[in-house]
């Protein structure tokens, strides 16, 4: 900057991080209240909800399937080595099934959707905000919280468990493929051994906890997008913070939900 202080640099901007944090949570609370109110008030935006379900769910499927498959393969190879050392090779199917379905599938899906969908929603809504498209929706007497936020958050809540099922299926299947390439085992036997002694309560809560991940990802991304300011920098910042914050909150929620599930379904 050629050593000449600019007008803005000569006036230090004082911010209080604690107040900023409290303000962020306050604004988030108001945003959630508006979205909830909009979501339960007719008319409902079914068309937009289905479009978002396709955008968030169907279009994330290839990436989720690939990631789930990779996790299944890696888990089968790594776990096999360890189990062989301890003479517990027969536990390989159960190790793969339980690891993938109870934790790896859900958290992997949550983090991948945070990246792909969180960034997408954050950037899209931020671009709409800075180009006054959201104002234009409001000026047309259409509630942007209903049309843009409620539909996206609902779609995330519905899509996440479905994507998790896909990730878990691919993980278990490719785990079997990896295991059988080293030492042939039939798929039926792999599945029977893997699910032996398993209860529905072992698999349903971990799968459905991803509804909470979906709610977090959708809410944070919509909130960050709809409060964006400035031009291209504001859009970029909204996309980045959407991914960072939604990933962080998904990880925190995972820690809490694992404990809650273990307490409720011992």
């Amino acid at each position: 900057m050629s050593g000449v202080p600019s007008v803005t640099s000569s006036v230090p901007v004082r911010t209080n991080p604690v107040l900023d944090l409290l303000s962020w949570f306050g604004e988030l609370g108001i945003f959630i209240w508006r979205v909830l109110r909009a979501a339960v008030t007719p008319p409902f935006e079914f068309g937009e909800f289905v479009r978002q379900l396709d955008e968030i769910g169907a279009k994330s499927l290839p990436l989720i399937a690939a990631a789930g498959s990779a996790i299944g393969v890696v888990l089968a190879l790594e776990a096999r080595n360890s189990l062989v050392r301890f003479g517990a090779k027969s536990l390989l199917p159960a190790t793969v099934v339980f690891s993938v379905v109870t934790e790896m599938g859900p958290i992997l899906t949550g983090l991948i959707v945070s990246g792909r969908v969180g960034a997408g929603i954050g950037a899209e809504l931020a671009a709409m905000k800075v180009t006054e498209q959201i104002d234009a929706i409001e000026a047309s007497s259409v509630d942007p919280y209903k049309l843009l936020a409620a539909t996206r958050i609902s779609a995330c809540i519905v899509a996440l468990p479905l994507l998790t099922l896909a990730a878990s299926f691919c993980g278990v299947f490719m785990g079997w493929v990896a295991a059988t390439l080293i030492e042939p085992i039939s798929l039926v036997r792999f599945i029977n051994t893997g699910f032996k002694g398993a209860r529905f309560s072992d698999f349903l809560p971990p799968t459905f906890k991803t509804c909470v991940y979906g709610m977090i990802i959708g809410t944070v991304a919509c909130f960050q997008g709809m409060r964006a300011k400035g031009g291209a920098q504001g859009v970029g910042s909204a996309a980045t913070t959407s991914v960072v914050l939604s990933s962080l909150f998904v990880i925190l929620a995972d820690v809490i939900l694992v404990k809650v599930i273990l307490l409720l379904f011992p």
Binding site: P42, P43, A127, M128, T131, E132, Q133, D135, A136, I137, E138, A139, S140, S141, V142
Partner: protein, 262 residues
């Protein structure tokens, strides 16, 4: 729209009843320490076009946003079709907004929708009983009115700035509003496109007898389309009247403004 059916409709016959369609009463608005609007007052009846001129940053666009309820004044009132937009219920605001058309400065077209879908957007949400063919015909008629026949399937990014403004204007007129707010309709356009937009606004004004407010920097455009001109400086209306009234004014700021343009 459900809301508009459930509530008493706002007074749309303001010209007949003598009430102004828009009544701005001593409105002030600040952003932090910056006072943007300082006691602004004026009235606009149906059939009138008020052009609001002034230097950049004098709060002209903020004034339009207050009128449509996107921002709330610090004090004073913006009465639109008899409703105070700062205090009205959400249902009343929604009802009033369906009777207002707003052309944003950069058109603010929905970039994921085609030209036709952009114009159809208000109809989809507020005319649920309109069939797809009726909607399509209505959109085609609006696009014809703004001179955009044959462009309905294009995306906003694929048309020029002037055409985007026309699409924005067609969208603003979709619900047959009684009030039209135009935020710099000719900004960034070449003189020929600006002239075409001015002619279009005049034609629409004659056809629909709207109460219009046009925010602009373009004195020539204001002279062409406005019945009255309000010149703003430092958040205040310095003078309000016809173009001839402005020419007769001995206010230095008014003379300065006119000399720059003429």
């Amino acid at each position: 729209m459900q809301a508009s059916q459930d509530t008493k409709p706002a007074n749309v016959n303001s010209a007949e009843s003598g009430e102004p369609a828009i009544d701005i009463q001593d409105v002030t608005k600040s952003f932090g320490p910056q006072l943007v609007l300082d006691g602004v007052s004026f009235k606009v009846h149906r059939g009138e076009t008020l052009a609001v001129l002034g230097r950049s940053g004098t709060g002209k666009s903020v004034l339009l946003r207050i009128i449509i309820g996107l921002q709330v004044p610090d004090s004073g009132a913006a009465l639109v079709l008899g409703k105070n937009m700062a205090e009205a219920s959400a249902i009343d605001i929604s009802t009033v907004r369906t009777q207002m058309g707003f052309l944003f400065q950069h058109a603010a077209l929905y970039d994921s929708l085609t030209v036709e879908e952009n114009v159809a957007f208000p109809l989809l949400h507020h005319r649920p009983n309109m069939s797809a063919s009726e909607r399509s015909d209505h959109v085609a008629q609006l696009l014809h009115e703004v001179g955009l026949d044959g462009h309905s399937n294009k995306m906003p990014a694929d048309i020029s700035g002037g055409m985007q403004k026309r699409v924005g204007l067609a969208r603003a007129l979709a619900l047959a509003p009684v009030i039209l707010l135009l935020d710099e309709p000719t900004a960034g356009l070449d003189p020929i496109s600006s002239g075409e937009i001015d002619d279009l606004v005049l034609k629409l004004q004659e056809q629909h007898q709207l109460a219009s407010i046009v925010v602009t920097h373009d004195m020539m455009s204001a002279k062409t389309i406005a019945t009255r001109i309000a010149l703003m400086n430092k958040g205040k209306v310095v003078i309000e009247g016809s173009f001839d009234d402005l020419k007769k004014s001995d206010e230095p700021f008014v003379s300065q403004f006119l000399q720059r343009d003429f």
